[in-house]
């Protein structure tokens, strides 16, 4: 799923500026599952904004709402009325949802209340790990189902590098302790699958034009387009 983290309150307050009618718009799909931007979190942020305004003696109206999915036009219709009435909409959806909302209701001021950070999976309750870089050309068939693009700190196609020690990556920061070396994981799983020879295949440089380096991507399914 797409994961996001809420921006610090000070940054959100700066984005809102002196606007009087604020709508906090949550999204009840990915960002709700990662406990960042669903209706519950939208209600919490709205409450925080009201408390802050009261403290500073500013008269503002802060409401909250949530779309079932902010990234689809149809679901945005369901919250249209509240959006029309707001001076500024603080969207807690991922970058896709925020842009859909901004586009549908342009030139309405729509601001991001979250930082979208990855395509991750919940490793355990309340812990998410990055699993996919949406690179446009999946290689995990050759790498034992482990993505070297996002799970190797250097996105190496021919790993491991010299920084792999006892199965751990040399990249360590206070936030990113104890990263598994993706290529050590790949090696172990290839061995378990009896496919060690894949480790010795020399992979040419990856074609990054299929990733975001090739410009904005577009997908069309002709067979599914409405007639």
């Amino acid at each position: 799923m797409i994961t996001a983290e809420r921006k610090p309150l000070d940054e959100i307050l700066e984005l809102v500026g002196d606007k009087k009618k604020i709508l906090v718009a949550g999204c009840d799909t990915c960002v709700a599952i990662c406990l960042t931007g669903g209706e519950k979190e939208a209600e919490i942020l709205a409450s925080e904004l009201r408390i802050k305004a009261e403290q500073e003696g500013r008269a503002v109206e802060v409401e909250h709402t949530a779309a079932i999915r902010q990234c689809e036009w149809e679901y945005l219709d369901m919250i249209a009325e509240k959006i029309e009435q707001a001076d500024v909409v603080l969207s807690m959806a991922c970058g896709i949802g925020i842009q859909s909302l901004a586009e549908k209701f342009a030139p309405k001021l729509v601001m991001p209340a979250v930082n979208t950070n990855m395509l991750g999976m919940p490793q355990e309750h309340a812990v998410w790990l990055e699993r996919c870089g949406a690179c446009g050309e999946c290689v995990i068939g050759e790498t034992a189902g482990i993505c070297p693009v996002v799970r190797c700190s250097k996105s190496l196609m021919n790993g491991p590098c010299g920084g792999s020690h006892d199965g751990k990556c040399e990249v360590t920061t206070p936030e990113k302790e104890d990263i598994d070396c993706a290529w050590a994981l790949i090696w172990e799983r290839l061995k378990a699958q009896g496919r060690e020879e894949l480790m010795f295949v020399n992979r040419p440089p990856k074609n990054w034009s299929k990733s975001s380096s090739g410009g904005p991507r577009k997908m069309v399914r002709e067979e599914a387009k409405p007639v």
Binding site: K40, E43, I44, S47, E48, R50, I51, E54, Q55
Partner: protein, 188 residues
């Protein structure tokens, strides 16, 4: 001269208004703190009248927004009183509550409001004296902190907290006697 200045900054003198009577919302677990309050009453123990209780089936039902709503509505202090750790009727409700209280402390710090205004306490139904002690000490702490900066005339934190809880809040003792009997029947 820098030393006395630093010492002064570390321990700022609070202005304590002797007439300030804080309004404190207590989210009390039906199985422990609420019963402890009953016991405190039976034991004729004195505790401040500043606290307003809301009974919950378990502090695990308490969410971040419930605590925040009470603060938003002007509660000077809010605390959750759940069972002793390891003794929760629903196993881990009180542990969840503590995490949520801690999160609200972070949110308050972000807002520039003293995190100490929100707290979590643990007690058993047999701890009437502890209930009175916690109520007294917390009220004293809030008196030291002074009024909630977002206090407004005509807004009842107790009513706001109850409203935020919706159906989660349990009726008061007199109304709930039937429900308690039914649950005890299940336990047998």
């Amino acid at each position: 001269m820098a030393v006395p200045e630093a010492a002064e900054a570390a321990a700022p003198k609070k202005f304590v208004d002797p007439d300030f009577e804080p309004e404190i919302i207590v989210f009390a677990c039906h199985y422990c703190a609420y019963a402890a309050a009953d016991l405190a009453g039976s034991m004729r123990l004195q505790y401040p009248t500043n606290i307003r209780m809301i009974k919950l089936p378990c502090t695990g039902k308490l969410e971040v927004i419930h605590l925040l709503r009470a603060i938003e509505a002007g509660a000077d202090g809010v605390y959750a009183a759940g069972c002793m750790e390891g003794e929760c009727h629903y196993l881990k409700g009180n542990l969840w509550a503590r995490k949520r209280v801690d999160h609200v402390k972070d949110l308050l710090a972000e807002l520039g409001i003293e995190p100490e205004r929100v707290e979590m306490f643990n007690m058993s139904s047999a701890m009437g004296a502890k209930f009175a002690e916690v109520a007294t000490e917390f009220t004293e702490l809030i008196k030291q902190l002074g009024p909630n900066p977002v206090k407004r005339e005509g807004v009842s934190p107790h009513a706001a907290a109850r409203e935020a809880l919706g159906g989660v809040a349990m009726p008061d003792q007199a109304e709930s006697s039937v429900a308690v009997t039914v649950e005890e029947g299940h336990a047998e």
